[in-house]
Subunit: 197 residues, 2 copies
DNA sequence: CTACAAGAATACCACACAGTCTCTTTGCAT
DNA sequence: ATGCAAAGAGACTGTGTGGTATTCTTGTAG
């Protein structure tokens, strides 16, 4: 039964995902049309609907793509033999760097919007956030145990830090002029120092 | 020249704004149609376009409405004779309370989306955020001067706190189950304590 | 009370866009 | 090589929606 080899099929699919990412980064996913994505990918609508059942399925794939990227960063940090505080600090800096990319923020906001509207998307996003939170919590607990951090509710602090990241990203996108990243970094470090012993 | 008295005209307009708010809180502004808003307001499309030039103009009015509400809270805090740290803490708690209202968050996300797409909206939002930031900065500077707070870049810290607020709001909306507000409050207080002397 | 312009109701339009249908091309198993 | 099903191209469609044009109603000045 002649069909595409699985790897080429996946590669085709990824072509659409990448195209969607570029389009969404430019003007947002919601206002991007399926035709836009096809044009960007250099393929046709027929091809698109051979790989995705709907536009939302594409968004879902886009979210997975986005999630995988950050997971990789966190895993790398986790495997390095750095202390928990140092992991936190480095993650914060990576996130700040990412947050300065307007395209990425645009995509994220679209994801949030879709998540509020569609329960399936919300669960997907919540799962990704939960994964990150558990990892951060692990670091924090380790830090508290070793005495590097003062006693704080680890899970809540992890939530707060993740929320802070998205908030900073967002505010930077809304008003870049009011943002001096260097100063924000200092403020952040002050906060991290504040909870360090 | 017989036309409506100015106050009744404004009241009519506000009718649409309120209706829009309710609709947007339910399902988001973007997916809310002008017809939805009219139905909710109990008025007709003809009436709508007598008051607003476009759907976006309605959004703009909605943003003003939203902004005014928080401004009032901040002004009240500002006029009370509390210390700067206490102001910060109370504002944080008010914001946390507001953040637990899903409808409000839904509206905010829509505002952010529109802000990224439309420069006019972005400026409007940036102005509102800038106003809040200046006020917070004032409090922080006061706190630093009086020795209540450790030495931090006031403007950056204000940015961070505002960003944190929106981030928490967002994350709570995305995954309420992972959120124990009480714990978040403790974590927040720990952070505020950390930067207090 | 009356005239009349502003405000409101409703039918209407243009069009953008997600998704489908049909026909053609392609690439793999044999 | 070759046959054949899957994959791709592109025209088409139906619907939902922002905005308008027309008609009807209402409030107010004189």
């Amino acid at each position: 039964m002649p069909r595409l080899r699985d790897e080429t099929k996946l590669a085709r699919r990824q072509l659409f995902v990448d195209a969607a990412r570029r389009c969404a980064a430019r003007r947002g996913f919601q206002v991007t049309t399926v035709d836009d994505v096809c044009a960007e990918a250099g393929l046709s609508k027929g091809a698109f609907y051979a790989h995705f059942g709907s536009k939302q399925e594409l968004l879902s794939a886009l979210i997975d793509d986005d999630t995988a990227e950050l997971r990789e960063v966190i895993d790398t940090l986790d495997r390095g033999r750095l202390g928990p505080t140092e992991c936190l600090r480095r993650l914060a800096h990576v996130m700040l760097r990412d947050g300065a990319d307007p395209g990425r923020v645009q995509v994220r906001i679209d994801i949030w919007t879709a998540a509020l509207a569609e329960p399936a998307i919300r669960e997907q996003v919540a799962a990704a956030v939960g994964e990150r939170r558990r990892l951060l919590r692990g670091w924090i607990e380790e830090g508290v145990a070793s005495g590097e951090l003062s006693t704080v509710p680890a899970n809540a602090l992890a939530s707060v830090l993740l929320a802070l990241n998205d908030g900073l990203m967002l505010h930077h996108a809304l008003d870049a002029s009011g943002f001096r990243w260097a100063n924000v970094r200092i403020a952040l470090d002050a906060i991290l120092d504040g909870i360090s012993e």
